[in-house]
Symmetry: C2
Subunit: 306 residues, 2 copies
């Protein structure tokens, strides 16, 4: 799957992942109106609205980008019904040829990580029958519990030809509180980066490992250092656009082959119709606004990788 | 809710939380047989089996312990249908008077943590209507992203009178890989502990804060240090029993008032019927075995807090 990700990025000239994070106030009013009319002003109604909204985005961008990254929290906040939509989004995106990175940031002690790995990337066997949970292609994973919280994910990935992105340095303002703490004279995120490179050797693809890293766009100098610590690691880069990361700052995240990083934008694409630059599209054409925002982002990112 | 937790612990003389982690191979065969016969050998069947099994445990122990801790991964591995059961377990446990600690270990950047907080502890308002997701009383939270990943949880907790337990030092063998790294001469977990104490001041109950900590039973010396760094913090202690933690080692986790810690056991209680000590009960009386295991654990823990 990491080989396919690299290949699709090259084909489309787009190291871009669209974050499918349906905050309720991104959803166009006409979609909510229709869903509430059909299903009622209840959980079913809002979940239907999320589905229609996100399906519209996928239909508008699937031929432009290699991957989408649904943020599970935005679905999970509606309870089990929201997770039904999360799963439907995964299935639909895959049916359109997209690679799906589930942004779930799971991580726990060994036996529990194994259950998360099974549910998101693998299959569970009970009395000779196999069941699948959410079946993403990649998921994001939290490293705070160390190797024995990570290895169960890698084991499942090896069986399934799938991958993970481990949080190394996140894009949020207070990410430094723990991640930047100096340990033996260098920040914790470097130590985590080294472990990611080491875990990566356990499951290598053709040029890159199936074990990737998350490094926020908001800390380009850190990106440069981590790129050199983790040469065969694909970096998932959140924080571009709405969170403040700029394309020209992303050069250090890429290798000389023009690969090695994939940049996420969520709000800047799925809620593009709310931005000044795209307001001409209007709410009804929200998906066209998203398509244009992807085209613009693809152009913009050429500064970083070309 | 933290006041109620402390009060119930005193009433029952049981600083005990029962971990409801239904690993498939814990479920008695006769329950799976019946569920597969009724619902088919499929996801519905296995989810029904989990529900029947866990309901049996709750019915057997609800009058002995203040709280239960369902581990969401064990439900999530079955996809949305598993999370329907997770929610049903929460509702049922609450209907029996139990406090529910959702072991979800969530944590992300601010806006995403907000969605998790809303979905697990709060309510979401859409066009003047309020919806609830999972509605646990407490959840566990991962601190790797720092304050702005934690504060959204505390904000929701303040509104709802609920709480969180932040991972500080986990019970697994490789927890030290990052958590023990020396930062300014002391381990990272001490720094996290200090932040937990600081965050705790934002939402205080009568004697203890609504912001608790997770500190594994497998590192008693660490427990002693963290107890002194976080005097008003309730400590959720995993790793007793099956993972190797012993009652006599847990004394330092408690304050002199006999409070301040609540000890989890999962496998040792819910799969007690599989242990040598309780095998006389047999599979059919698995819930009676669990009840006896709780009674024994309560006795055993008196060494720690009395």
């Amino acid at each position: 799957m990491i080989n396919r990700l690299a290949e699709r990025i090259k084909q489309l000239e787009a190291p871009v992942v669209v974050g499918l994070d349906p905050m309720p106030d991104y959803i166009p009013g006409f979609i909510i109106d229709k869903a509430f009319k059909e299903y009622g002003g209840n959980i079913e109604g809002i979940c239907e609205a999320i589905w229609v909204y996100i399906k519209g985005i996928i239909d508008a961008v699937y031929d432009l980008v290699p991957a989408v990254k649904p943020q599970v929290a935005m679905y999970e906040q509606f309870g089990p019904e929201g997770l039904v939509i999360y799963k439907r989004v995964i299935e639909y995106a895959k049916s359109k040829g997209l690679i799906v990175i589930g942004d779930v940031k799971r991580g726990d002690i060994g036996s529990t990580s194994e259950a998360y790995a099974t549910g998101h990337l693998g299959r569970i066997a009970i009395r000779g029958k196999e069941f699948k949970g959410f079946d993403e292609d990649f998921i994001t994973v939290n490293p705070y519990l160390g190797s024995d919280g990570i290895l169960p994910f890698i084991n499942v990935c090896k069986k399934e030809g799938k991958g993970i992105f481990v949080l190394v340095k996140t894009s949020n303002p207070s990410s430094g509180e723990f991640q930047d703490q100096l340990t033996c004279g260098r920040p914790l995120y470097e130590l985590v980066g080294e472990k990611v490179a080491e875990w990566g050797m356990l499951h290598m693809g053709e040029g890159y490992s199936y074990v990737g890293a998350v490094v926020g766009a908001t800390y380009p100098e850190v990106g440069r250092i981590l790129r050199s610590i983790m040469p065969r690691t694909f970096i998932l880069v959140p924080g571009y656009g709405a969170q403040g990361g700029k394309a020209k700052d992303l050069k250090p995240y890429f290798n000389k082959d023009g690969l090695g990083a994939i940049v996420n934008s969520s709000r800047g694409i799925i809620a593009a119709y709310k931005l000044k630059a795209y307001e001409g599209f209007g709410e009804k054409a929200y998906a066209d606004a998203s398509r244009q925002a992807v085209l613009d982002m693809r152009e913009d990112l050429k500064q970083a990788w070309m």
